[in-house]
């Protein structure tokens, strides 16, 4: 009786795992099946290297370099905010706060992660954008900077939460030994705990990067969606994700524009894959080297 139940549970869990892999496989297959025919008409070089994205003109041009720059700029900006603050939050919560306050702050950070992206976008459109426009004397508040700030706030809980786990996993014996040798709490935190928690923190950074690259709604609402090469952080940009969201409804199914958008999706997929692979390698390498 117990053995049969064992086998059933094993079969069920196997089934679930296979189903999810199957689903992922199908999505990948569909994505590349729709995207690959695009490259029979347009060379990958002009796609990846061209800055002009005018898909509805006659003749159309499909260059995503400006969007790659847009996504890159916004993600870099988001990480510049999320990583220092996320690590700081993790250290503060894990090392400095007493138990009671720790729980409250942890919950507060989790709530930050739960706010829908459209709410962030609305806040950016109505409050943050105009404020930055006034403060910095810009022609418009819809810029890469606004998007970066908001994405930084959205990615912060991801970075903080993984960094927190990493910090908590550092054995107390290391801390006690450091303090016993005469180090101050700050020296212990910075020179013992952080290096020990390095691999988990890196994992948090890569996950945060993945969150920032894939975000669509917020950047759609606050980044201005200008499909031109961004001269600076203070100009409107368009990300890869916003391009797909803005134009997919319009592109005639099966046409060149439609396939171009799938190609953009395929690029996003490859980036995320690369990020995960590199992230894993870095985490292993950094974690193993102790």
């Amino acid at each position: 009786m117990a053995r049969a139940a064992e086998r059933l549970v094993k079969a069920l869990t196997w089934g679930c795992a296979t189903l999810s892999l199957f689903g992922l496989g199908l999505i990948t297959l569909f994505l590349f099946r729709e995207a690959i025919p695009f490259f029979r008409h347009i060379s990958p070089f002009s796609f990846l290297g061209g800055t002009a994205w005018y898909p509805t003109q006659e003749p159309p041009s499909f260059g995503i370099l400006s969007m790659l720059a847009g996504s890159g700029l916004v993600t870099a900006g988001a990480l510049a905010l999320a990583v220092p603050f996320g690590v700081a939050v993790a250290l503060f919560v894990g090392e400095v706060l007493p138990r009671g306050a720790r729980d409250i702050l942890k919950v507060a950070v989790e709530v930050l992660a739960g706010i829908p992206s459209v709410v962030y976008g609305f806040f950016g459109l109505v409050v943050l954008g105009p404020w930055l426009q006034g403060r910095l004397g810009l022609p418009t508040g819809q810029t890469a900077l606004t998007a970066s700030l908001l994405l930084g706030i959205m990615a912060l809980p991801t970075v903080a939460s993984l960094a927190e786990d990493a910090v908590a996993a550092v054995p107390d014996s290391l801390r006690e030994a450091s303090l016993a040798l005469g180090a101050t709490p700050w020296q212990t935190m910075w020179r013992v705990v952080v290096p020990a928690a390095r691999s988990g923190m890196f994992a948090g950074v890569f996950l945060g990067m993945g969150r920032a690259i894939g975000e669509t709604m917020t950047v759609l609402m606050v980044s201005g969606n200008s499909p031109v090469w961004p001269p600076s952080l203070l100009s409107p940009v368009r990300t890869l994700t916003a391009t797909v969201a803005l134009e997919m409804a319009e592109a005639p199914v099966g046409g060149l524009h439609y396939r171009a958008l799938f190609a953009v999706g395929a690029i996003l997929f490859l980036f995320t894959l690369l990020l995960n692979v590199v992230g894993d390698l870095v985490v292993q390498h950094v974690g193993g080297k102790r």
């Binding site: 426009q133 969606n225 200008s226 031109v228 005639p252």
Partner: protein, 276 residues
């Protein structure tokens, strides 16, 4: 035992709630959206057993949904394209157009902008990057920030056709917004902005310019649109799959009735005929 019964009970109730009455789904143009929403609200009061849902997404989205069968009525603010017609016919969908309102596309700027009128050529030059500063048009020394709709939008198509003559808005730094409301919001908060919105989205936070050619400038008012003299005007449609039956037909007839056309006026648009 009791817990299982309770769980089953909850599932049953939720399932039955889903069966409550018929559904009517409208999808498409954000221009037609205010009309659709008003009409849906009043119609739903008259038919409480009905669940009416109205969504935006752009004319292109609405047409795709109608062809795919995921909505009953598509709201559109532009003509259908040849490729869309072909696809519809392929799928056995006959797009029956109902003219539900008339619309003007207003060119709007920030209220602090002293410029009051522009020619169509000047607007085109702004959006294609040939004019980049308001001082070139008699305004302050302020960089122009052109605001456009996204490419799935019927408003974008009509603006592009009538004002840009089919060219792309290729100026540097054109901001693309996903809805009429977002364009209005952006222009209201950006002193150097110029944008285009449908009549129903004019509000005190933005200023409409008089538009024209050869010396005659006209404001986007109801009279000018009905008279056909305002240059950037267009019909607004609701499209059904073939000649509609049942609740879809009732809804369309409601929108075309005097009561429905009064709602069109309330939404800020122009009714298709003079109503008392």
């Amino acid at each position: 035992m009791v817990r299982t019964a309770a769980a089953l009970g909850v599932v049953l109730v939720l399932g039955l709630a889903g069966l409550a009455g018929e559904e009517l789904t409208l999808k498409g143009s954000t221009t037609v959206l205010p009309i659709a929403q008003l009409a849906a609200e009043v119609f739903a009061e008259l038919h409480p057993e009905l669940a009416v849902s109205v969504q935006g997404g752009g004319s292109g989205t609405g047409i795709v949904a109608l062809i795919d069968g995921t909505c009953d009525i598509a709201d559109v603010s532009r003509a259908m394209k040849p490729s869309e017609w072909e696809r519809a016919v392929d799928r056995g969908v006959y797009p029956y157009h109902w003219l539900v309102a008339l619309d003007g596309i207003a060119i709007v700027v920030h209220p602090s902008n002293p410029v009051r009128q522009l020619t169509l050529d000047q607007i085109r030059d702004i959006y294609t990057g040939k004019i980049i500063n308001w001082k070139e048009l008699g305004g302050p020394d302020l960089r122009i920030v052109p605001v456009s709709r996204d490419t799935a939008s019927g408003t974008y198509e009509v603006f592009g056709g009538i004002v840009l003559g089919g060219e792309a808005p290729s100026a540097r730094g054109v901001l693309y917004q996903p809805s009429n409301a977002a364009v209005a919001e952006t222009v209201a908060r950006t002193s150097g902005a110029i944008g285009y919105v449908s009549l129903g989205f004019l509000n005190p936070a933005i200023k409409a310019l008089a538009v024209g050619e050869a010396g005659t400038y006209l404001l986007p008012s109801e009279e000018n649109v009905i008279a056909g003299t305002y240059p950037i005007s267009r019909p607004l449609f609701m499209i059904t799959n073939g000649f509609p039956e049942g609740v879809v037909r009732k809804f369309i007839l409601f929108v075309l009735s005097d009561e429905g056309q009064k709602l069109v006026e309330e939404a800020g648009y122009v009714p298709v005929r003079r109503i008392k």
